[in-house]
């Protein structure tokens, strides 16, 4: 029993220990190798890090819920791009232009609705056809990306509105809007997952779908809601990012799904479902962003960042399995 607690503690604390190690390493290494005058653990730097982790982070929060359900969503990158295009393009529709700055909330609404509808389509297909979510979202990843290209060909879509940029760069004690949105989203979904019936059902469905059905959980609608949620969050991620940047390429958001899944897995969520937490995912997102930023800080290039993140993901998987195997052996006795 005691060793069980121990191994749980190691598992849940591992991501935070890793973050602390990263901080210390890059702080010390930065003293030697960094070209920058500023320390790595500078407050501004950390706030910037939180802001930069927001686009993937917001999606990763939704992905956690999906993966706790035992599903996966590979289409988030395409949803992200499509919502960004809808938002920026809608700003230049004739009736929107006549609204002045009031067009902004309406454009956001269009983007968020688009995301929710795309998620709804995924969810309905998963529910009604019984095809595995991996295949359904693999298909819609291609399909939604096709829609992105059909919308505006291979051209970038842009619309710069300074009021919108101001809102995107608004800050409270240095925490800018994207970081704020990320924190609030994580908090709300954390609350839903730990304190509500929906959250409890999410774990139940992921753990044992048969048992969940027997416990009178309506699995189909439950999963549908989660797909709508992740579609909405992918749209929200696009809204927070593109309000500031004002320009989107049809290839934007590619591989976002893989980054989000990496963050979620680093945070301790199981692919088979039934286990995982928003707090862990938050840690995973921060850990990845720290790694990218830290390696950049000490002068490493993208190549090294890709290499290191890939190897760490595999190492985490290996360590996690070692800990789990231990637990199972005890169970067998």
């Amino acid at each position: 029993m005691k060793s069980d607690n121990m191994s749980n503690l190691i598992k849940n604390g591992a991501i935070w220990g890793f973050i602390v190690l990263e901080l210390i390493f890059f702080q010390i290494a930065g003293e030697f190798w960094s070209l920058s005058e500023r320390a790595f653990m500078d407050l501004d730097n950390m706030l910037l890090l939180l802001k930069q982790s927001a686009p993937i982070g917001i999606i990763a929060v939704g992905m956690t819920v999906i993966m706790i359900n035992g599903n996966i969503d590979l289409s988030v990158g395409a949803i992200y791009a499509l919502c960004a295009i809808v938002m920026l393009d809608s700003m230049s529709w004739p009736f929107m232009e006549s609204l002045g700055d009031w067009a902004i909330p309406l454009a956001w609404l269009f983007a968020l609705l688009t995301g929710a509808v795309l998620g709804l389509i995924n969810g309905i297909i998963v529910w009604k056809t019984g095809v595995d979510a991996f295949i359904v979202t693999l298909g819609s990843m291609l399909g939604y990306r096709g829609l992105v290209f059909m919308y505006n060909g291979e051209n970038p879509t842009y619309h710069l509105n300074w009021t919108m940029v101001d809102i995107a760069e608004w800050d409270i004690f240095g925490v800018e809007t994207p970081a704020l949105v990320f924190l609030v989203v994580a908090l709300i979904v954390w609350f839903v997952m730990t304190r509500t019936v929906h959250g409890r059902n999410a774990y139940a469905v992921g753990n044992n779908r048969e048992a969940a059905v027997n416990a009178a959980i309506r699995v189909g609608p439950h999963m549908l809601i989660n797909f709508v949620l992740i579609g909405f969050l992918a749209a929200l991620s696009a809204v927070t990012f593109y309000s500031g940047s004002g320009s989107v390429n049809p290839n934007d958001g590619m591989l976002f799904e893989l980054w989000a899944i990496t963050a979620v897995v680093l945070g301790g969520t199981k692919l088979i479902g039934g286990a995982g937490s928003i707090v862990g995912t938050f840690g995973g997102v921060i850990a990845i962003q720290l790694l990218r930023k830290g390696l950049g800080h000490i002068g490493a290039d993208t190549a090294t960042v890709n290499l290191v993140i890939g190897l760490i993901l595999i190492a985490v998987l290996f360590l996690d399995r070692q800990l789990n195997v231990k637990g199972k052996e005890e169970l067998k006795v």
């Binding site: 298909g139 829609l147 059905v213 290499l307």
Partner: protein, 326 residues
Amino acid sequence: MAEKNLDAVGRFLARQGILVAFVLFMVGFSLWNPRFIDIDNVFGVIRSSAILGVMALGVTFVVIGGNLDLSVGSLMSFSAIVVLDLHENPAFGPYLAIPAMFAMTMAIGALIGFLVGYLRLNSLIVTLGMLSAIHGLTLTWSGGQNMDIANQDATWFGVFGRGTALGIPIPVLMFGLLAAVLAILLAKTPFGRKVYAVGGNGTAATFSGIPRARVVFFTYIISSFCVATAGLIQASRTMGAQNTVGQGMELEVLAAVILGGASLLGGSGTVFKTVIGVLILGFIQNGLLLAGLEFYVQFVVTWVIIILAVWLDIATKRGKLWSAIA
């Protein structure tokens, strides 16, 4: 009697549905536009599908063995960059560059096979990690630069991508030959049967004395061999490559394999059906282009076709159109 016949027809459709759909599609398009079935067009389509197709052959083994391989696109970029770079290196030249590239690509395949087979790590995450790690390797190797063969007329290297033999493009021949060899390996040898056994029920396979780890290991070796071949065709065809030449192909490859009817749970699928899946994707793309539509319309069509194909497959197996999920 008639009912029995209908039943037989239904069963035939359920088993060979993808083939029937393919034939219907080809006939329909040919009637609509005779240029579609023109021999030059057909070879053109197969040649442009060859790279995706060769990769799909290898992934078929991995998927039947009950695993996934998301690293093939990234690995293909790696092999294309490596073979081009070594080709330009006076110490290697084309004769040594190709075997050296195959050795390196298959060494990475062996690493993945070791992690998934012997260490029994989840293949989705391992190959996801490898996708990123291999991309890092590729960038390190090339320094982020595009690779090009400087003097393209002085080398025979282009033969794999551009040459023809007996009027058939070499990539088509390579694809066909590899498909034939792998089809025999999968359907007619003890190894092939073991791949099905391991993918169908790993525990049962282990208890029947099948070395699960070794079989999985070799599915990844086969996959990496196919990826190296695809990288060779790609590099030879364009005589140059970007670091991201194979980016995103892992999911297209998987789409072709699934379209061919292989289950992601493992234990089912054939090489022949994967070839059909690849050809369907290729001919759809071609047909849409001939119809004057932009290339990206095929993404949407592919989406609909994949979902319909898998749905019908599942629906015929469970005997009901809609799922039983409450």
